[in-house]
Amino acid sequence: MSAEFKTSKPIYSQIADRIIQQFVRGELHPGEKLPSVREMAIQSGVNPNTIQRTYGELERLGVVETKRGQGTFMTEQNEMKLKLRHDIQKEMIEAFIESMRSIGLNDHEIYESVNQSLKRSDHES
């Protein structure tokens, strides 16, 4: 299963990223119960301590809530989803800009090519 994990980042935070992305994409709903630590460990083929850390980290970020004796739930606060989407958006755009610059495009060229691509995909749809 480890083929699914990148080498350069701790596994616990990769699983956290995955949960955040599923939440932003609407595959996980606000207030939805997450699998137990054990179930999640089995699904992902990792040590349960790793999942414990993932859930702990998500709780610290306010993405999930742990209710005693009931389990771990996605937050019901709508602002959180917007905030996470904004974070991911920013991260993706920054990475995109960085790689465009690394192949030698200036800001104007980046802007133009994005604009053209957007227009093209607009025509197609």
Partner: protein
């Protein structure tokens, strides 16, 4: 807790292990990595009480290891675990009669999980099925220590994946101390907490798996390569 203090093992003039000191903490999952002939199996057999050190000592829960430890430790060895003339169910029955901590219900669950046929003879099982049966036998025991010596050897990727899932599903994490020797680092890495590298009978490096990723941005395999000559590992 398993403590090795200055452990040396010598076969004739050849030193298999040299002055090993290391403590395995209770409830953690350890991987022992290293090339063939580095002393991995010797170390496992010593912890299992099957081989005695020439120098130094091994303490389990504060007591020196002896043959008696077999009663409280489950050991998946590379050879001599299965009887070719037995059927799968006879192998399970045999283990149940040998070890009072053997859990029949867990064996039944594992039988289904590992997709094994209880009526089949061991000699008719494929290598992958034999590997699964061996794991079933050790995971069905309720022990504080679980030693797995090369659980993936000779198994195809599908079976290896199934074994990793079986480990995650059936190990009692936090209570059982698990030590796994392996070459197949990629499959097992997400299950390990600590990794140590044996080379030529010595521990040449050890690390916490998530820490290596966090601080150095390396997987255990990459970490290994930085710590040992490439050709020796692959």
């Amino acid at each position: 807790m398993i403590m090795l203090e200055g452990v040396t093992k010598q076969y004739g003039t050849r030193k298999s292990l040299q002055d090993i000191s290391y403590t395995f903490e209770k409830g953690k999952v350890y991987g022992i990595l290293g090339p063939n002939g580095s002393g991995k199996s010797t170390m496992m057999k010593m912890i299992a009480g099957l081989v005695y050190p020439t120098g130094g000592k091994i303490l389990v829960e504060g007591k020196p290891v002896s043959r008696k430890i077999a009663a409280s430790l489950a050991f998946l060895s590379t050879e001599g675990m299965l009887y070719q003339n037995f059927k799968v169910e006879q192998m399970i029955h045999f283990f149940a009669t040998q070890y009072p901590d053997f859990q029949r219900e867990k064996a039944e669950e594992l039988l289904a999980f590992m997709e094994l046929d209880r009526r089949q003879k061991v000699s008719r099982l494929s290598k992958g099925q034999q590997g699964r049966l061996k794991l079933l036998l050790v995971l069905s025991r309720n022990t504080d220590i679980l030693l797995l010596d090369e659980p993936f050897i000779g198994l195809d990727p599908m079976v290896r994946d199934m074994i990793v899932k079986g480990l995650v599903s059936f190990i009692d994490f936090g209570r059982q101390t698990v030590i796994i020797t392996t070459h197949e680092i990629n499959e097992i890495e997400p299950v390990l907490e600590e990794a140590l590298l044996l080379d030529n009978g010595r521990i040449t490096a050890f690390c916490n798996v998530e820490e290596v990723r966090e601080k150095d941005g390396l997987s255990v395999l990459e970490w290994l390569k930085t710590n040992v000559k490439k050709e020796a590992v692959l």
